[in-house]
Amino acid sequence: MSSDVSTQERKKLTNKERMKIPRHPMPEQDPLQRAANFLEVPLGYTPEMAMEEAERCLQCKDPKCVAGCPVNVQIPEFIYHVATGNFKLAAQKLKEDNALPAVCGRVCPQEEQCEVVCTIGARVEPVAVGRLERFVADWERSSGTIEIPTLPPPTGKKIAIIGAGPAGLTCAGDLAKLGHSVTIFEALHKAGGVLVYGIPEFRLPKKIVEAEVNYVEKLGVEIKCDFVVGMTRTIDELMTEDGFDAIFIGTGAGLPYFLGVPGENLNGVYSANEFLTRVNLMKGYDFPNNADTPVPMAKRVAVIGGGNTAMDAARTARRLPWTEKAYIIYRRSQVEMPARKEEIHHGEQEGVEFLLLTNPTRFLGKDGWLVGMECQKMELGEPDASGRRRPVPIKGSEFVIDVEAAIVATGNGSNPLINKTTPGLQTNKHGNIIADEGGKTSREGVWAGGDIVIGAATVIKAMGAGKKAAQSIHEYVIAKKT
């Protein structure tokens, strides 16, 4: 246990007794009610629920959960403070490693990271680490007592971060805490990246993202929105003319992939990026009364894909008042869907219909407008490169589904803007920037991390990359002469 442990002590329970406490369920909005609003689905633990859940943690001497976390949050420690009711200390401990705990507590796939290796998980349900993280972060925000750590004296080094998404915000925060002068350049009019344009309001309220962004600004980071590095200024100009000592590229996976089937350019076929950005970032769910960005107004919407983005799009479409039917069209079966089980479950409850083992072969139109999709049924054959069983079309199984909107959510590639405008920056054939463990690229003084390096992945992985890069950048600039 670390030295700053609270003076209070947890209840004296045996391990057996702790494991007998059932995992506290998360209170949620009623499915039918929430399918018509954009408020958060999980309502959060109360302090009592949180303290009770925190008692389930065995405080293992060799905690596997810490290694399971991509940013190595000191999980047993912060949970201990929750159990003793010292939420302020819990928040401090949490934030030593995690810059965006309110975000992670909501969107991390804990079931694949910290919770899946939880010791008690072998016998009973694992400790609800994610829900506790969310509770602590929310408590701190509502208590209005967010602590800003004392910053070391300025190092005089300037670092430019490209992209105000999870990777950039994390990298910026860590570098600011080390005394460097940090500026984030963001192409959109709002900071947050996928946190504001991609993940819907009902999974991640934008007020929360705003609070997290404000925290990073309070650390002294300057965020310049409406600034497109590659167009407004190139990386070379930032380094040779604007005096930046190092660059971190966190521009994300912002290139939408389309299916390449006939009819894809009909009115009514959208990329998930377009649909989600219109509804989320541009507040299209409030069109036309309180927001000006138009959104598709289709009675029947088909979302093609099986990942979190597809689930987000389907559940968002479900919530728009004019939607009568929202489908997920996925070519494999439910177990192969990459989306979080929790999101699939919530989608089912909200009335999203799943057409599995189904693949669209063409989009059908009338007068330039989408009226339906021709699909084929699939069966699962031998595993492919991803290890999942390959979907094989069943001959003669074609059928038509009537829809007025189709959202293609089959993945994103790397936005090529930085690659095109930064000579000497090596990328792979997919356009991902090649970077080492610490994020160093082929260009001196230039680092990269997050989706732009590893392809479309998770918020927490991007944050982990931002952390590692911050450390690597710090060592580099400190050693630099001028």
């Binding site: 959208y270 541009m282 036309p288 309180n290 000006d292 960005t293 959104v295």
Partner: protein, 286 residues
């Protein structure tokens, strides 16, 4: 916030703005555009850069009030500020030395050809600008175009100024008369750009157009602006907006521009109602 330094009301619901946007002004090149957002909860709209002054840090835009956002913008004055101005976006216009340029601009499309014609002139190319409007009073930027073109030819629908007819009427004549030209540039409504393309194709004259599909982010991340050029899907915001006219699928572009027509109409109706109510209230108060 981006301050409007100058605002002029021109004819036919066209407005000219000079806006303080130093970062954009420093980097702007002919053929590029910016994206504006008037206020929080506003929508993002693309507007071509008609001019800029890197030293003063200003950009000049010509905007036609056709929908809610541009109508709201037309009500702004010098001293007001726009929430977001970002850019410059798009690939700069392709300018080659030693070419004879014929540029056609219809209505407020003249603002879009202005910087491109100027760029050609600056590298020593011969430039002929064909500008058109419905009538003499609705013509914009005539003086600016004369300043940067070797020759300006004018067409008005009603014949009140210059040739009676369209800009394409003048071009047709030039092609038939075998007047020398290496590249034709046309910017304006899609029907106009398509007409120019169809006209020059049999003569084999290289023709460039600047496409104006619906856009949202401008950085190539959403695909709303996708167009088909030579059977390839391209994003107008990052692969264009300028393309080889002879291989552009204009029909598809026209169809896709209607993608949000019902919503745009709805938005306008609500806004016009608000304006009416506002005016009624102000009148009643008085």
């Amino acid at each position: 916030m981006f301050l409007i330094l100058e605002k002029n009301d021109l004819a036919a619901k066209v407005y000219r703005y000079v806006i303080a946007a130093p970062d954009v002004a420093k980097k702007a090149k002919a053929g590029q555009f910016v994206i504006l957002r008037l206020y929080e909860d506003g929508e993002r709209i693309p507007i071509t850069l008609a001019d800029w002054d890197a030293r003063q840090g200003t950009i000049t835009l010509y905007v036609q009030a056709v929908g809610k956002t541009t109508l709201m913008m037309s009500m702004m004055k010098a001293g007001d500020a726009i929430k977001d101005v970002v850019g410059p976006f798009g690939l700069p216009s392709h300018i080659e030395k030693g070419k004879i340029l014929v540029a056609l601009g219809g209505g407020f499309g003249i603002a879009a050809i202005h910087p491109i014609v100027r760029a050609h002139k600056l590298i020593g190319n011969r430039t002929t600008s064909i500008i058109g409007a419905r009538n003499k009073d609705l013509m914009i930027m005539e003086e600016e175009m004369r300043a940067i073109s070797d020759e300006v030819r004018i067409a008005t629908d009603d014949g009140s100024y210059g040739t009676k007819g369209f800009v394409t009427t003048i071009l047709k004549n030039m092609l038939e008369e075998k007047e020398p030209m290496d590249v034709v540039l046309a910017i304006g409504p899609v029907v106009m750009m398509k007409a120019v393309s169809d006209m020059t194709k049999p003569y084999g004259v290289q023709t460039l157009v600047s496409l104006n599909p619906i856009m949202m982010d401008g950085t190539g991340m959403c695909g709303a602006c996708r167009v088909v050029v030579g059977d390839k899907m391209q994003f107008a915001c990052v692969d264009g907006p300028e393309f080889d006219a002879h291989i552009v699928d204009f029909e598809l572009l026209m169809a896709r521009q209607k993608m949000y027509s019902p919503q745009e109409k709805l938005s306008m109706e609500i806004f016009e109602k608000i304006c009416q109510t506002q005016t009624q209230r102000e009148t009643a108060a008085w």
